[in-house]
C-alpha cells in the first residue's frame, strides 16, 4: 500500500471513532510532547499549561512525580488534579524490588496458610527436583547481586548447566544485559567491575535470573509480549488490561548454542536492541498483535491451551499487583499505566520478566501509532469521571463504554460489593479473590 494513501486512510479510519468530546475546561501539563499524547489532549479540547500553573491533568515523568510528592516540594494537590504515576512505582518497576515484593507476598500468604501459596516439587530441565510454588511461580528464580551472591551460588550448583541472565536493576531497554553459563564468567565480571576504570559499576546492583532457555518460538523466532495494564487504585486494587498488546520478535533465528550466547539479537527482544540489527524491518518493526498470537495458538495448538495461557497471564498480572499493593503509596490523585513484559515458554507457561512504569510512547510503525493513540485515549476515559473533569472524589467505577479496549482485570471494591449478587462488569472474576 502506498504510504500517502495509508496516511489519508488513517485519518479516516485508523483513529478511534469518537466524536470530539464536549469541550471541558481541563488544563493539562506534560513533560513529554509525544504526538500520541498531544493529539489526544487536543482532540479533547484541553488547554496546555506549564507545571507551575493550575493544571488538572499532568502527564509527568517519574522524576517529576517523585519531586511533586516529596516533602521538600510542599506541593499539595487539590481534588481536581490527577497525575500519571504513583510516587513509589519503583516497587513494581525496579527489577530487584519487584522480586523482593513477590517473594514477601508469597511468604505472607504461606504464613496465613493460604491455599494460593501451595508448594510442590517439580523437575527442572536438567532433571533436578526443586520445590516451587504451584500457583505463584511466575517469575524466574532471581537474586540480587552482590547482596544475594551466596544464595545464588547455592542455587546455581543445583543445575550447573542452566544459563542465567544478568540485568542492571535501574536500567531499561536492554542496556547492560548479558548471559552467563559459567560461574567463572560471573567471577570475572565481578573482578572487572571493581577495577578503578569502572567505578560506577561497583555501586550498581544487578539481578541475576534463571534464563528461560525454552521460549515458545514462532517461525523459529523468539518473542516476548508487551501488555499494558492500567491501575487506578492499589487499595482497593483496581486494574485493567488493554486488549491490544503486541509481541516483539527477534530478527534472528533462536539458537541456544554457546557461540550465540553473546549475540543479543538472538536473545533480547527489545526494539531498542533489535533496531540495530541488520534485519530490522521498519514497516512492521518486528511486532505482531496479541490478537494474532491468539489466533495462531488457537489454530495450531488448540483452544484449551490457548485459553489457559491467557488466563495464566491475567493471573500473573493480578498477583504481581497484589504483591506490591500493600507497599504502594495509594494516593487518590494517581493512576499509572504499566508495560508488562512477559515471555512464554514452550510449555505455554507465561513468565513475568519485568514491569515498566513509563512504557515507550514512541511509535515505530503506523500500527504502533494507532495502538498507542488508542491506549492514551482509553486511559484518559477510564481515569476521568463521566463529565471529563478530573475529580478524585469520584468512585472510580467507569462504565462499560468508557473502558474502550480495556478489560477489567480486578476491582476489589466491586468484588466486595457484588459478592452475593454476582458481578455485572465485563471481565470481573472472583477467582482473583
Amino acid at each position: 500500500m502506498n504510504q500517502e494513501a495509508k496516511k489519508i486512510t488513517n485519518n479516516l479510519y485508523g483513529r478511534v471513532n469518537a466524536p470530539v468530546v464536549e469541550r471541558c475546561r481541563v488544563n493539562f501539563c506534560t513533560d513529554l510532547e509525544k504526538s500520541v499524547l498531544m493529539s489526544n489532549f487536543e482532540r479533547r479540547g484541553w488547554n496546555q499549561v506549564g507545571p507551575d500553573d493550575e493544571w488538572n491533568f499532568y502527564w509527568a515523568s517519574t522524576q517529576t512525580c517523585r519531586n511533586l510528592f516529596s516533602v521538600e516540594s510542599g506541593y499539595r494537590m487539590n481534588d481536581n488534579q490527577m497525575i500519571n504515576h504513583f510516587p513509589n512505582h519503583y516497587e513494581l518497576s525496579r527489577k530487584d524490588l519487584l522480586v523482593k515484593n513477590i517473594k514477601r507476598y508469597r511468604k505472607e500468604l504461606e504464613r496465613e496458610g493460604n491455599p494460593l501459596a501451595e508448594k510442590a516439587e517439580v523437575a527442572l530441565h536438567g532433571g533436578q527436583i526443586v520445590t516451587r510454588y504451584v500457583h505463584l511461580d511466575f517469575v524466574p528464580v532471581t537474586f540480587v547481586l552482590p547482596a544475594d551472591y551466596n544464595m545464588f551460588v547455592e542455587e546455581y550448583r543445583k543445575s550447573p548447566q542452566s544459563t542465567w541472565i544478568m540485568k542492571p536493576c535501574g536500567k531499561s531497554q536492554g542496556t547492560g544485559i548479558f548471559l552467563i553459563n559459567k560461574l567463572s564468567k560471573l567471577k570475572k565480571w565481578s573482578r572487572e567491575a571493581k577495577t578503578p576504570f569502572h567505578p560506577q559499576l561497583t555501586k550498581e546492583s544487578y539481578v541475576i535470573s534463571r534464563y528461560i532457555d525454552n521460549p515458545l518460538l514462532i517461525g523459529g523466532k523468539k518473542f516476548d509480549l508487551r501488555l499494558y495494564v492500567l491501575v487506578t487504585s492499589f487499595r482497593p486494587l483496581k486494574a485493567y488490561l488493554f486488549q491490544l498488546g503486541f509481541c516483539r520478535f527477534c530478527t534472528v533465528k533462536y539458537d541456544t548454542s554457546v557461540t550465540e550466547l553473546d549475540n543479543m539479537y538472538v536473545h533480547l527482544t527489545n526494539v531498542s536492541v533489535q533496531k540495530h540489527g541488520g534485519d530490522y524491518n521498519n514497516i512492521h518493526g518486528g511486532k505482531m498483535t496479541v490478537q494474532n498470537l491468539k489466533l495462531y495458538l488457537e489454530g495450531t495448538k488448540g483452544r484449551a491451551v490457548t485459553d489457559k495461557l491467557f488466563a495464566a497471564m491475567q493471573w500473573l498480572i493480578v498477583h504481581s499487583l497484589k504483591a506490591v499493593s500493600s507497599v504502594m503509596a495509594n494516593d487518590r490523585h494517581c493512576f499509572e499505566c504499566y508495560g508488562y513484559d512477559i515471555i512464554i515458554d514452550n510449555q505455554l507457561k507465561p513468565w513475568l520478566v519485568e514491569v515498566n512504569a513509563s512504557p515507550s510512547l514512541t511509535s515505530t510503525t503506523v500500527n504502533d501509532r494507532i495502538l498507542k493513540y488508542k491506549l492514551i485515549d482509553n486511559i484518559i476515559s477510564v481515569v476521568l469521571p463521566p463529565d471529563g473533569v478530573p475529580d478524585v472524589r469520584w468512585n472510580k467505577l467507569p462504565n462499560t463504554e468508557a473502558l474502550g479496549n480495556f478489560d477489567l482485570l480486578i476491582d476489589e471494591e466491586l468484588l466486595e460489593k457484588d459478592e452475593p449478587s454476582g458481578s455485572h462488569s465485563r471481565g470481573a472474576k472472583s477467582k482473583y479473590k
Binding site: 486512510t9 518473542f223 524491518n281 512492521h284 505482531m288 498483535t289 489466533l295 488457537e298 495450531t300 483452544r303
Partner: protein, 517 residues
C-alpha cells in the same frame, strides 16, 4: 427422463470404478479391504452386508465416501469448451507476453531459466532451508513479472473483442461480455444462511446460543464442530463450514473438506519437491524470493512466517501434479533445458514444473494458512488444494463462472443494480469501479483483511464452494463506505478510503448485503 438420469449415474459409476484404481489411495485402501475380508467379522454367507458393516466400523466407509466426494468435485468443473474464442485468444496472448517478459529478464540479467545448482550453493541452501530469510541473494534487479494492475489492464481490453454492443448498456468494460452472472436474488438463494439472518460465527463473539446447554453460539459451534471432525465425512464438513468454523478446529476441517490430509507418501513427495529445489536453480526461484520479501516479509500479520513461506512457495513451483490437475486451465508452460545437466530426458523441465508463474502478491494465497499449520508439509497440501480448486481462477483468463472475468462482471452488475448512486458517482468522476476492488478480488482479500476475518471469508468459500462471495463482499464494503466515497473524486482518494480494511467485519457485512431491507 428417469431412465436417462439412471444411465448417466451408471456411466459415472463405471468411470469412477475405473479411475479410482489410478488414485494414490487405491493401493493401501485395497489392501485394507482385503485384510478386512479375511477378518472374522466378515462372513462368507452374508458377505456384502457384513463387509459393509465392517468397513463402516473401520472408518473405510468414510474414507471411500470422501474419495468419491473429492473425485466428483474434480470432474464436474472442467472439460468444458471455452465458448468465447475471443477470451481464449486473449489468454494465449497474455501467456505469450509473460513468457516473453521472463525471457527478456533472463537476457538482461545474463542468467538462464533453468540451470544446475553448484554443489557449494546446494550445501548453503540445504543448511539454510529452515531460515531462508538469511539466504543471501541479490534481488535488486528482479521485478515481479506482473502485478494485479497489469492483469486488470489485460482484462479491460477483453471487451474490445466482443463484436456487439447494445446501445442501452452503459459502456462499462465487462458489461459487454456475453457471460451469465447471478443477480442478487439468485445470490440470496445461493447463500440462504446469510440472507435469512441465521446466527453465524464472526458476527458477535458473545452471541448467545439457541441450543439449550450452551452459553454462547461459539461454544455450541465448537461442540458440534468436534463431532463433525470426529465423523470426518467431507460433505458434512462442507455443510458445517457455511456457518463459520471456530479457529481451533479450522485446520482439521479445511484439510478434510479439501482432502489434503497428509500421510507418508505426501511427506515423501514434498521431500522430492524440496530436493528438486536444492538441485535445480530456476529463475522463478528468485521471483518467489522477491515476492515473499515484497509481501509477507513486510506485513505485520505475516512477517513471522517468512521462513515457512519460502519453503512452501519454492516447493510449489516444482510440483508437476499442480500442472496435471489444472490441465486445460492454465495454458502451456514452455519446456526448457536445464543448463549443466547431461542431455537426457531429465535435462528438460517445464518452466516451472507447476506451470504457474507467480505475480506480485502470489504468496498471499498461502500466507493465511500460517495461522493454521506450523508444519510446512501440512501447510503445503492445504494451500495447494485451495489453489487448485479456487485460486488459479483468479489469475487466469477464462469464461468459467467462478473465473476472474465472471467475478468482475458480477461485481459490476451488483454495484449497478444495488448501489445505483455509487455507480453514478463512479461514472461522474470517471473511474471504472472495478479498479478500486480488483486487487481484493485477485488476492481473495488476502493481505487486505486481518487474518481472523480472512479465515472466516475463506470458510465460506469452502462451505459454499464458490468464489462469488468475493465480489459480493467487495460490493458490501463499498456500500458500507459509500458516504466517504461520495466525498472524494479521484482514484487515489477512493483508494485511500478503501485502503484500510482492518475494521471490517466480513460476516455481518455479507449478511447485510443479502438480507432484504
Amino acid at each position: 427422463m428417469d431412465g436417462v438420469q439412471e444411465e448417466a449415474i451408471h456411466h459415472t459409476a463405471l468411470k469412477l470404478a475405473d479411475e479410482i484404481k489410478h488414485l494414490s489411495i487405491y493401493k493401501s485402501f485395497y489392501s485394507d479391504v482385503q485384510k478386512l475380508v479375511s477378518s472374522p467379522n466378515v462372513e462368507k454367507e452374508n458377505f456384502k452386508q457384513t463387509l459393509q458393516q465392517a468397513m463402516k466400523e473401520k472408518g473405510l466407509d468414510t474414507k471411500l465416501r470422501n474419495t468419491v466426494f473429492h473425485w466428483v468435485r474434480t470432474q464436474s468443473k472442467h472439460c468444458r469448451l471455452d465458448p468465447l474464442t475471443s477470451l481464449s485468444k486473449a489468454s494465449a496472448q497474455w501467456e505469450k507476453r509473460i513468457h516473453k517478459s521472463l525471457n527478456s529478464m533472463c537476457t538482461d540479467l545474463e542468467t538462464s531459466l533453468a540451470k544446475v545448482r553448484l554443489q557449494s550453493e546446494q550445501d548453503i541452501l540445504t543448511e539454510k532451508w529452515s531460515e531462508l530469510s538469511t539466504y543471501n541473494l541479490d534481488l535488486s534487479k528482479y521485478r515481479p513479472v506482473y502485478a494485479p494492475k497489469d492483469f486488470l489492464e489485460v482484462l479491460l481490453t477483453l471487451s474490445g473483442y466482443v463484436p456487439f454492443t447494445r446501445d442501452d448498456e452503459p459502456k462499462w468494460e465487462f458489461a459487454h461480455l456475453p457471460l451469465k452472472v447471478n443477480k442478487i436474488d439468485q445470490l440470496r438463494k445461493l447463500f440462504p444462511e446469510w440472507s435469512s439472518g441465521e446466527p453465524l460465527l464472526g458476527v458477535n463473539p458473545y452471541m448467545p446460543s439457541t441450543v439449550p446447554g450452551f452459553s454462547t453460539l461459539e461454544a455450541e459451534r465448537i461442540s458440534l464442530g468436534e463431532r463433525v471432525v470426529a465423523l470426518g465425512y467431507a460433505p458434512v464438513v462442507q455443510e458445517y463450514l457455511k456457518k463459520g468454523s471456530p479457529q481451533c478446529l479450522r485446520a482439521k476441517l479445511w484439510s478434510n473438506v479439501l482432502g489434503s490430509d497428509i500421510k507418508a507418501p505426501q511427506v515423501q513427495y514434498f521431500n522430492r519437491l524440496k530436493k528438486n529445489v536444492l538441485e535445480v536453480d530456476l529463475m522463478v526461484d528468485k521471483l518467489i524470493f522477491k515476492d515473499v520479501q515484497l509481501t509477507a516479509s513486510n506485513d505485520d500479520q505475516y512477517f513471522v512466517f517468512e521462513d515457512l513461506l519460502y519453503q512452501v512457495m519454492l516447493c510449489f513451483s516444482r510440483d508437476v501434479e499442480v500442472m496435471q490437475l489444472l490441465k486445460g486451465n492454465i495454458g502451456n508452460p514452455p519446456v526448457v533445458t536445464i543448463k549443466g545437466k547431461q542431455t537426457s530426458p531429465e535435462s528438460l523441465t517445464a518452466f516451472p514444473p507447476s506451470g504457474i508463474i507467480p505475480f506480485h502478491g502470489f504468496t498471499m494465497y498461502a500466507t493465511p494458512f500460517c495461522y493454521l499449520y506450523d508444519d510446512p508439509v501440512q501447510l503445503y497440501y492445504t494451500f495447494r488444494a485451495f489453489y487448485v480448486r479456487y485460486w488459479h481462477r483468479l489469475h487466469y483468463i477464462s469464461t468459467h463462472p467462478q473465473g476472474i472475468v465472471s467475478l468482475c462482471l458480477l461485481y459490476e452488475r451488483l454495484l449497478e443494480a444495488n448501489e445505483p448512486l455509487l455507480w453514478v458517482h463512479f461514472r461522474n468522476i470517471n473511474i471504472n469501479p472495478i479498479r478500486v476492488v480488483f486487487k481484493w478480488l485477485m488476492r481473495a482479500f488476502s493481505g487486505h483483511l486481518p487474518p481472523d476475518q480472512l479465515l472466516l471469508l475463506w470458510d465460506a468459500i469452502l462451505g459454499y464452494d464458490c468464489l462469488e462471495i468475493l465480489p459480493l463482499l467487495a460490493l458490501a464494503i463499498l456500500s458500507f463506505r459509500k458516504e466517504n466515497i461520495f466525498q472524494v473524486n479521484t482514484l487515489q482518494n477512493v483508494d485511500a478510503v478503501l485502503a484500510d480494511l482492518s475494521t471490517i467485519s466480513v460476516i455481518p457485512l455479507l449478511q447485510l448485503a443479502l438480507m432484504k431491507p
